[in-house]
Symmetry: C2
Subunit: 366 residues, 2 copies
């Protein structure tokens, strides 16, 4: 690791997220990180950042300019792969927006370009900083919950209007985004799902294309997940529901957790359910349980938290909250749900990345 | 319809439910109905009901004795079909416990024996009397909710211990009950599901056999339902969870309903979601909605309500709350979930009843 006191960051793509990240850094919210350069093909987007921020219309030129140590890629999804590979090959640290790529084969290409492990390669999964999910993960890993039996995530508060989908030609197209709600809105949820519970071995999904809007990709999804140990999962999402809900329910051998509306409830059985079932002499009575509300803990650190961690990882070797290599899992989950719908079959994981890429390309050209 | 003032009822099968029904009638809770006879092969079960209640060790003998106008069939599941057919063929009114039969082909046989429409033929779907479900049905049928988008029923509060499953050789076997939680615990929920939302056109299910208990049939189910109009459903049940939950969620064009823990919540959007999505000029903002708690209404009339209705239907032509012919739907749903698991394929409805019967018989012999 190089001895350095400040990371000179270049942002590629000054759309909504790029601008937000730039502002956070310029406001000094990220210790050890300086906004050194920005790159965008659209000239107007580069203006107004002052003389200390170098402007580039070409991202590769920025990478080779010697003005940046690290890049943050906030461009449309498909370009994450070639830009990420270009940056890694030039020895730059990389933070990539979610999803890290549109499909699994591109994730594999991107990840295989990460050869020098002294390069810090992170992904913008800022919801890992949400204290509720962090606590749940600790409770799972410490076996406080016992064996997980069932996961049910209903995340239907991604409401979008027809006007939203009409706001860009590339939006909600196979060629432009590689999918709909699964690729645009859900990468965080899918990342948390695998971060909390690991990867399922089988997915059967019903993705509904243009059900609520005049679009070619999915705006409603119901997916059934099977985990290697017999646990089951259901993932439901939509951009057509209002008011919608974000409700994560986990049934386990020590009771049931529900995270909904910012409240974390835990019904904790006094003994493991499996032990109770095995030893009880009666037929119906459930084990006694405690009604617990888990405190929220410190507020979510969000995007800034991920950037602080990225800077600290580069400067001091701090472990990454969200290594980019883990970003392949949320993409694989999204791809598998779509592939199950394309093929009208359950999909065994790991997903055949070439087969999926071919299926996606066929749709992109249609 | 015969002129009569009292229905003379004969109960067949004096196990748990038969005894409970007998007690309700003897306590005078069912106007116009008298307990005239009881039938059971086990002699001890017939004792203690007094001289006014005739005893029969053979159900057919009771049907032909001239002492009863109607029978209530509360025997193990498989015998519902032959006993129901025998009673209908002898011109007796019939109330059959749920499920009306174990599999769809038997339902068809039973229903085809109902030729004389002056015979009253009902099923013990007492949960239709639960005022919450009744109100929800009215709200659906009056289009108060608008188009139904998504139904999600998590009914995992059917906890049963290993001792329960050890309490009878026939329990939780293909040959004895024709299935597990779907046939024994869930007929009410499956009946309500079709009563509220109609039948799906396709079911993809994962039934897990002996996951939580040492049994050959299913004790955990996750099913994905597709309705003809594009609405989706998820039905989750288990006897292995504690404390478990009974949560029915309905997303519709006018908002979202949740019935859970005896509380009926309705988030009602001020305009239909589809209209809002089509006309809004912004991208994200949801339509305003009201938070409503729907009052419970009169308490559930339960088993007594169904028997009162049965008596009134015989005596005064009152419409049945639960005609037995509708009982085929809950059986078909249960069968289709199992068949999807047997075949590892989605099942299109209507289910092929002969194919399912053959598959079930093969398992019963195994």
């Amino acid at each position: 690791m190089k001895e350095q006191s400040t990371v000179r960051l270049g942002i590629i793509g000054m759309g909504g997220m790029g601008v937000a990240h730039a502002r956070n850094i310029l406001e000094g919210k990220v210790p050890g990180m300086r906004l050194a350069a920005i790159a965008d093909r659209v000239q107007e987007r580069l203006q107004g950042y002052g003389d200390d921020v170098k402007n580039f219309s070409d991202a590769i030129e920025m990478m080779e300019s010697g003005t940046v140590d690290a890049v943050l890629i906030a461009t449309p999804h498909y370009s994450h792969t070639p830009l990420g590979i270009a940056a890694l090959e030039r020895g730059l640290h990389v933070m990539v927006e979610k999803p890290i790529s549109v499909h699994k084969a591109d994730c594999e290409r991107l990840i295989s370009a990460w050869k020098d492990r002294s390069i810090v390669f992170g992904a913008m999964f800022n919801q890992r900083g949400n204290p509720h999910y962090g606590k749940l993960r600790k409770m799972i890993q410490s076996r406080e919950l016992g064996t997980i039996q069932r996961v049910n995530w209903i995340i239907t508060d991604w409401y979008r209007t027809s006007a939203y989908y009409g706001s860009g030609e590339w939006r909600a197209t196979w060629g432009g985004e590689g999918g709909g709600v699964l690729l645009n809105q859900c990468p965080h949820n899918l990342d948390l799902l695998q971060w909390l519970f690991g990867m399922p071995k089988k997915i059967t999904a019903l993705c509904q294309f243009g059900r609520f809007h005049d679009i070619e990709v999915e705006d409603a999804v119901t997916a059934l997940l099977e985990y290697p140990d017999g646990a089951t999962g259901v993932f439901i999402t939509s951009t057509g529901e209002a008011p919608g809900v974000n409700r994560l329910e986990v049934a386990a051998d020590r009771g049931r957790v529900v995270i909904e509306n910012g409240v974390f409830k835990f019904e904790r059985t006094e003994m493991p359910v499996s032990e109770h079932s095995r030893t009880a002499t009666h037929s119906f009575k459930k084990p006694e349980h405690w009604e617990i509300t888990i405190p929220m803990g410190e507020g979510s650190s969000g995007h800034v938290g991920i950037l602080r961690n990225f800077a600290a990882a580069i400067l001091h070797g701090e472990p990454l909250i969200a290594p980019a290599v883990e970003g392949i899992h949320s993409v694989e989950l999204a791809n598998a749900m779509l592939y199950s719908t394309f093929t009208q079959q359950p999909v065994e994981l790991p997903l055949d990345s070439s087969a999926y890429e071919a299926a996606l390309k066929a749709r992109s050209k249609a």
